[in-house]
Symmetry: C2
Subunit: 204 residues, 2 copies
């Protein structure tokens, strides 16, 4: 009886291993989807970044309205919201360590701000499709360890050249590892707890 | 040979079923966590709603600044952002059907809007802890099928009485099933595609 149970258990274990092996070998999932599932950036062979199609299901960090580091701002004929998202994997790692792991992707999307519509009579709400999507990627393959990509469509985007002002501004002013954690209310306390937030940048 | 393979397969299948059964029977997960994992509302025995601790990891729907249906708004001494989130399960169901499933939870959190801080000189950004968290729950146990709960802390909250103005306003003005999908840019096209959005509420 014992002998028979043991043999049954062995057969089950082998069977499960065989099924697991066969599943992973025969899985018919496109490579882009398996990469996306792990939250890692997905590049074309010539190192363009593929559009992160599921970013609206990532973790939301904050939104802002018409934020600018310029005192005088030209009225371009409309207000704009920015929404910032990060991959769930990077968010979980940051909460544990106060640092961004390799492969972190932050998305900033811009959407038009409306004032009058439906029952709204005051203040601003978001409407329509994104007018721009920017991705900030932490990847040791790039100079400085981070790169920006700006998407005007869903086509793969070329890296913003490292001489662009955004890199220098992020390096000088961002609280954590070139990212503006001082504007992310759920992560700033984490960064402070780990001693990772630079200077007196806590927004007052 | 065939006979032996068939018997092996049968044993494997039975073994896998047995393992699955034993896993679900012996799983040592607290009830609150299994409920939370399924995205369902979690009540106390006296039908207060427990605070949805992980709502910042749900799917973001939109944010607004100082939105109001009143033309004249009293200046209460500060601007406020609203961020709206929904459980991933309800979001996935809505994308497939244009309707909210039972157990849908929408969270609206309010956070202070700041203008000057760090390098920001213009526009508004979010700072600090939430000043209020409201949850809107679809559950057939409540009159009208939906209920509001307002949290001033992480303690369980009592249902807002159904005579409150919020219920009537949502019933009359919200685009889909008492929810303001007209203000959720990623879901309004879905609702329109399924013919679920009421009236000329598409924000212009």
């Amino acid at each position: 009886m014992i002998h028979s149970s043991q043999r049954l258990l062995a057969v089950i274990v082998l069977g499960v291993l065989a099924m697991a092996g066969s599943l992973s070998l025969t899985a018919d999932i496109p490579e882009s989807e398996t990469r996306s599932a792990a939250g890692q950036p997905d590049y074309t062979p010539d190192e363009k970044l593929k559009f992160p199609a599921d970013y609206r299901e990532w973790v939301f960090l904050t939104s802002g309205l018409d934020m600018s580091y310029n005192t005088v701002v030209m009225d371009m004929g409309g207000s704009t919201f920015d929404n910032v998202f990060v991959t769930p994997e990077a968010y979980a790692a940051f909460k544990k360590t106060g640092q961004w792991p390799q492969g972190t992707q932050l998305v900033k999307e811009a959407r038009a701000a409306s004032q009058k519509g439906s029952i709204n009579r005051h203040g601003h709400f978001q409407r329509g499709e994104p007018v721009e999507v920017e991705v900030h990627v932490k990847d040791a393959r790039f100079p400085g360890g981070w790169a920006f990509f700006i998407f005007a469509s869903h086509e793969p985007a070329t890296r913003v050249p490292e001489a662009a002002a955004c890199y220098d501004c992020h390096r000088r002013n961002a609280a954590v590892d070139t990212t503006f954690v001082q504007f992310y209310p759920t992560l700033l306390p984490v960064a402070n707890a780990f001693g990772e937030a630079r200077g007196a940048l806590d927004p007052k």
